[in-house]
Amino acid sequence: MSADPPGVHLPDAERALETLASSLLTGVAHDAAFVGIYSGGAWLAERLGKLVPGEHPVGFIDVSFYRDDYASRGLKTGARRSDLPFDVAGATIVLIDDVLYTGRSTRAAINELFDFGRPRAIELAVLVDRGGRELPIEPDYVGVRVACARSLSIVLSRDAAGRLSLGAEPAGGG
């Protein structure tokens, strides 16, 4: 394990994923769909779809077209195609993201989901909650809570073997 950069203590991502999976295990509907926000949330949705017992269709969502910083930052490059292989109308959906911070990505994702149909309910699961919300959004399931300097972004990475890890980089990249 590399040393923590100044301003944050980075927990182990795999252990946080185990915690998140067990908290979903006790609370989530047996047929809830798992929808990961690209790209970190998508990796988590894939893993959680296998870890959590039940019938959980897995989908992916790219919120690039719903972001509120388009006017100041332009179109984000590398946007992916949202892929929701189930009927959103009437579905119970667990939205999955790697790091919950301001809540703006979650807002964008909820808006996008409604353009596919009217879900019965949407819940929120995140690997890392670092606080600092700018919108009235709270997670239903959390892997780990982390205090982090505002000057840093926490990023989730996945190595060739599929193992997840957390890192930090200077904020402002997007």
Partner: protein, 322 residues
Amino acid sequence: MNAGRNPQLGPDGRLVHLLTLEGLPAATILSILDAAEPFASFGEREVKKVPLLRGKAVFNLFFENSTRTRTTFEIAAKRLSADVINLNIGASSTSKGETLLDTIDNLVAMNADMFVVRHSQSGAPHLIASHLLATGRSHVHVVNAGDGRHAHPTQGLLDLYTIRHYKRDFRALSVAVVGDVLHSRVARSLIHGLATLGTPDVRVIGPRTLIPARVEGMGVRVFHDMRAGLADCDVIVMLRLQNERMKGALLPSAGEYFKHYGLTDGKLALAKSDAIVMHPGPMNRGIEIDSPVADGERSVILPQVTFGIAVRMAVMSMVAGN
């Protein structure tokens, strides 16, 4: 001021207008094609639009008629949630004597955010973009929807998107462009794009009267015999023969043209067995393309139309955000 700079690119190199594919870096072209990818799947959504251009006013300025291109730009802008205003310029201000730039200034005063421009004069969109820059209104963007014989960059991009969709790697392809290359801004834009993306073999096929002089300077090979030109190619792009030109001295007759340059199953058999057939539309059946080919399994003419909306969404959302 700004002499030598590509007027399509901002100071940081980002795309702010789309005027022509000529001189556009390969990375920029590829980023547009990549950005179009997620827009191509909109059929699955209950709400077939995204809020990217919400509150933006897109003015379709068509100084030359084109129902189809105007409609596809209108659909693309509406799917991005923009407000679209169609101006039939031929029937309004310019016929009363207003200059092009006065028209632009008036529309900017109405808070236009983007102009989609079709003009019979080559260079008109470029003139508008330069005017906006020179007068400090670089937040207003210009997209060329076809100017004279010069360029039709969104058509070129949608052709490139289609080729990439079916054939993947430009660096291993033979592409044949057939027909009225002389009058075709579609051909010009596509040839520039193919060259930039490293396509090793681009051929133009047509009668001497419809192939521009010195076209070899664009890096293409010229064929007047269609059968020789189609041999082993991967992609065939048929151009529309503009009926109005049939009356001039350029061609003997439609029947004669079809005999030599119409795409039939027989001629298609000379291309690779998995070659695709493209056409920018509207097509003249029985003149440049035979119905069995147009409706055949190698034809990707209708997918081109669908991809065209996605590519125009990508272009508009990129320039408006830069």
